[in-house]
């Protein structure tokens, strides 16, 4: 007997589940049962499931019976004519939706040609195996699988025009490209997601050649004039936010220029960008760590009498500064109210990011690269028509990665730009290479996409013909200007006295375990000591008990708090070690230091 569950609840038993499921499906296909109900019989656990509840992910498939799909050319014609609709196909039992459980019983063919007697369903189209990002890659079936994977990952990192109302939004951080373009070579998905309104890159002229070695190891060379024309420009919008909070006891924050005398007052110069209301005006240029919103707050942890002290001593400065290492222009200021009725300020900083050395760019085929050189237009190679590439890509990036899709896109885009209209080439239904070549030839170009190029500096012809065409490139959200960071001196953490970590905290770069090993291996013990003494501390060790003595600098005296002795030796050790010994003491382990007399 097979147990039957409906929406996860036991409803009964059946002797022949297989034929029951079969019969129920038949009824569903002939519209006697709603089409949203799914039936499945899982043989390995000998249970039958009927699912009618909401929230199941279901997908449409063409029903196959006896090796022939139920969808015929007659259906297609009717749909084209407008006689029939999608819902008609479902009603007629041509197409049905399966959920994950019923899918276990289905044997789905990817293409009509693959269908055998055993198949129960057929995919609507092979492209359904691809997700949204992957569907945005043209000619993916010509690329190696991993490259398609990388490519769709990077599509998500591209800087473009993700929304049209970005000027009204206050996202914490958003990138907007200045002159985005829809790709010349599109797939079916571009029209579905409306790329015309939300493009994610630009169409570049690309030359596949080396140039003085500056595009080796995934470097790319960019034409300086192209940048001056607006190539890969983008804006970084960052929102700073603050609230005029009210506290218990009637105290509240004050947004405004802090008065001299306030605790933590930064000096007149720091507040120069603030207008009378304490907020920087739009279109003010501000640089790293300058104050853009002036604010003062009441002191925290007030004693019982302190709250009666009024005046400046009772107020501390809590202004909003620009993040460390960031510059920009105040783009717009929003003044509203928070849920609690407090004054809320959102201030958006805009920073123009022109492409520079080290910025990351990528085509849609998993071919990422870093800008390695920006060359003046007059030094770039050119064709007889005067076409100068925007970007030079190293040919060594092709053989090992085998991204033939990129080469096809270059030819396709070249052909399309000569034709004057963009082309649609969906995955698995790509425009054949022969057609691309033929059309390119008809425009008077070599069908292999290669052309004679001339050396920019001298005007002499290159010995080899260079593969040149157009390709869609993306600027990825990994800009050097957001990442560059260095420190000589700076803040330390309170507990360990070691340097802070991370760019936002002006942190240092860790000399890690393996780097330490490298210094030992070199035998450079004094260099190692110097590198690791960021938290060195001069302490006094009691000669009698071996614990740390107290150093009273005011009285210029050293004494042991444990045994009262005043004989102590100064030692220089890392503060972290002192902390370790303190923790040992707290666990009742007595770490006695015996100092060798020198």
């Amino acid at each position: 007997m097979t147990e039957v569950f409906m929406d996860g609840r036991f409803v009964g038993e059946t002797k022949n589940a297989e034929s029951l499921v079969e019969k129920l499906r038949e009824l569903r296909r002939s519209n006697k049962i709603p089409d949203q109900v799914n039936f499945s019989y899982l043989t390995h656990q000998d249970t039958m499931f009927i699912n009618t509840n909401g929230g199941r992910a279901r997908r449409p498939l063409i029903i196959v019976e006896n090796g022939t799909p139920k969808l015929t050319s007659k259906h297609m014609e009717d749909i084209e004519k407008g006689v029939k609709k999608w819902s008609d196909l479902i009603r007629e039992g041509v197409i049905e939706y399966l959920d994950a459980e019923e899918e276990e019983n289905a044997y789905v063919a990817l293409r009509p040609a693959d269908i055998t007697k055993e198949h129960t369903h057929l995919e609507l189209d092979p492209t359904v195996i691809l997700g949204i990002s992957t569907s945005l890659i043209p000619f993916p079936e010509f690329n190696r699988g991993d490259r398609v994977n990388f490519g769709s990952k990077m599509v998500g990192q591209s800087i473009g025009l993700f929304l049209l109302n970005f000027l009204r939004r206050v996202d914490t951080k958003s990138n907007i490209m200045v002159y985005p373009q829809a790709p010349i070579v599109k797939t079916h998905m571009h029209d579905i997601i409306n790329t015309e309104d939300h493009p994610g890159g630009q169409n570049l002229i690309i030359g596949i050649m080396s140039y003085k070695g500056f595009n080796m190891e995934d470097g790319v060379i960019i034409n300086k004039a192209s940048i001056e024309r607006g190539l890969f420009w983008s804006y970084l919008f960052r929102t700073y936010e603050t609230e005029e909070k009210r506290y218990m006891g009637g105290q509240e924050d004050v947004i405004g220029i802090p008065e001299p005398g306030v605790r933590g007052y930064g000096g007149e110069d720091v507040y120069k960008h603030l207008s009378e209301d304490g907020i920087a005006d739009p279109e003010t240029e501000v640089t790293s760590e300058q104050i853009i919103i002036g604010k003062t707050s009441p002191l925290r942890f007030l004693g019982s009498l302190d709250q009666f002290i009024t005046g400046l001593e009772n107020v501390r400065e809590t202004s909003i500064k620009l993040r460390h290492g960031e510059n920009g222009i105040v783009d717009r200021v929003f003044l509203t109210e928070s849920n609690d009725g407090n004054k809320l300020i959102k201030l958006v900083i805009r920073d123009l990011k022109r492409p520079e050395l080290g910025d990351k760019v990528a085509s849609r085929h998993g071919q990422k690269g870093v800008i390695g050189l920006i060359v003046p237009q007059e030094d770039m190679p050119f064709t007889k028509d005067g076409i100068i590439p925007d970007l030079l890509f190293n040919p060594l990036g092709i053989p090992s990665r085998m991204t033939m899709g990129k080469l096809l896109e270059i030819i396709a885009a070249k052909m399309a730009s000569l034709e004057g209209k963009s082309i649609i080439s969906p995955p698995f239904h790509s425009i054949p290479e022969s057609e691309l070549r033929e059309k390119l030839k008809s425009f008077g170009f070599s069908d292999d996409g290669r052309e004679n190029l001339y050396v920019g500096e001298t005007g002499t012809k290159f010995q080899e013909r260079i593969f040149i065409g157009s390709v869609f490139y993306q600027k990825l959200d990994h800009l050097v200007s957001n990442k560059i960071h260095a420190r000589s001196r700076g803040p330390t953490t309170l507990l360990t006295k070691q340097p802070t970590e991370g760019k936002a905290k002006r942190g240092g770069l860790r000399l890690g375990e393996m780097e330490k090993d490298a210094l030992i291996a070199h035998g450079s013990s004094l260099l190692l000591k110097e590198r690791l003494d960021s938290d060195r501390a001069k302490l006094f060790v009691c000669k009698t008990c071996g614990l740390f003595s107290v150093e009273d600098r005011a009285k210029n005296k050293v004494y042991c708090a444990v045994c009262g002795d005043s004989k102590a030796t100064p030692v220089e050790i890392s503060y972290a070690f002192k902390l370790l010994l303190d923790e040992l003491k707290s666990m009742l382990i007595y770490p006695k230091i015996v100092v060798k007399e020198e």
Partner: protein, 375 residues
């Protein structure tokens, strides 16, 4: 060459090298003068290639092995189908060797045969002989007589000739049980009254008993290797193997280092350890200088028994409390040191890094001592 200078060289150069110099000078017909020049040259090279005092040999050895080991994680080679057996290779095996596991995941032996048995017929015969055979391989069916508490084992008819022998072996092995044979059926019973659970246990025990061959050797493969016929086994039992007469004991090999240490001693284990490491790295196409490996192997066998590199071995037997606490099992080491009133003398590397003092390595190893009396 004067008698004195020769002695001087001999103290520096190893015997082997002096013998080599002798051989070359004889071959090239060198006179005394030329020979001396060669010896001096060899000595120079020899001294140059030695480590300098204060060199951090341990860390350099660790780095020289870990760097290629990271490469190994990225490309683990599989030899699918070759020689018919799957043997753990690459990084998993390397870790296994350094951990000094009691039993490798795939213990194997490579057996060479004595001259008079070194042919296909004999090697196949020996391979068959040493492979362990359990009773369950001879059994057609087993049934339990629950009323009389008897396990009835029916043997396969094709082993008819061996029925008598199998029963004899079983009688020898299980003196506690009564064995009765009627043609192909062996009845196993116990005199005492027992529970059915116990009967099940007896059934399992008897079926799993080894009838012939060397225990633990689950599979054997014979293959030709130039002049030799070699038996490769899955499972290792070096102690029992050594007692087989036909085997060339001097060339046979096992990858179970502990077995070698037990049967042949620590020096043999050291050399097996070294050759195991060498072959693991070689198979992966990695080149590690032999001196790094010898250093590690020496340390692993230094105590007279094989020590793992990890927390219960080399790293766990370090002198400094702080170094051990800093590695693994911090609390254990600190508490133990505190209870026993131990002292850390700050002679090692890591404890000195902890307190940020000069480490006794390289430039930090030497002190300047002023000799007062020589003015």
């Amino acid at each position: 060459m004067s008698q004195k200078s020769q002695k001087e060289y001999e103290t520096i150069l190893p015997e082997e090298m002096i013998r080599e110099i002798d051989r070359v000078s004889k071959l090239k017909k060198f006179d005394e003068k030329k020979r001396e020049k060669l010896t001096k040259e060899v000595q120079k090279v020899y001294l140059n290639s030695a480590f300098e005092p204060g060199e951090a040999v341990g860390i350099i050895a660790a780095q020289s092995i870990s760097e290629p080991a990271t490469q190994m994680t990225m490309r683990t080679y599989h030899f699918a189908g070759s020689a018919g057996m799957q043997i753990t290779l690459g990084l998993p095996r390397l870790i296994e060797v350094f951990d000094a596991r009691k039993e490798p995941t795939t213990p194997t032996m490579t057996i060479y045969l004595k001259k008079e048995f070194n042919d296909q017929k004999n090697s196949e015969k020996i391979a068959k002989k040493i492979k362990e055979k359990r009773l369950k391989g001879f059994v057609e069916s087993v049934s339990l007589d629950l009323t009389n508490k008897v396990v009835k084992i029916k043997l396969k008819p094709e082993y008819e000739k061996k029925f008598e022998k199998i029963t004899e072996i079983l009688k020898l092995k299980f003196k506690k049980y009564k064995m009765m044979r009627r043609h192909s059926v062996i009845d196993v019973s116990v005199e005492d009254d027992i529970e059915i659970k116990e009967l099940q246990r007896i059934k399992k025990k008897v079926l799993e008993s080894i009838i012939s061959g060397i225990p633990k050797i689950t599979n054997t493969v014979v293959f030709n290797e130039g002049k030799d016929w070699v038996i490769r086994t899955l499972g290792s039992n070096f102690e029992k193997l050594v007692k087989i007469e036909e085997i060339d004991f001097y060339r046979s090999y096992t990858n179970n280092i502990h077995e070698v240490a037990e049967t042949l001693g620590i020096e043999a284990a050291r050399s097996v350890l070294l050759s195991e490491l060498n072959s693991i790295l070689e198979q992966q196409g990695l080149e590690v200088d032999k001196r790094h490996l010898t250093l590690i192997v020496d340390i692993m066998t230094f105590e007279g028994a094989i020590e793992a590199v990890g927390r219960y071995g080399v790293a766990g037997s370090k002198a400094s409390i702080l170094t051990r606490a800093g590695f693994e099992e911090t609390v254990k080491h600190l508490v133990r040191a505190s209870v026993r009133n131990e002292a850390d003398n700050f002679n090692g590397l890591f404890e000195n890094i902890m307190v940020n003092q000069q480490i006794p390595v390289g430039t930090g190893m030497f002190d300047l001592i002023v000799r007062m009396e020589d003015e």
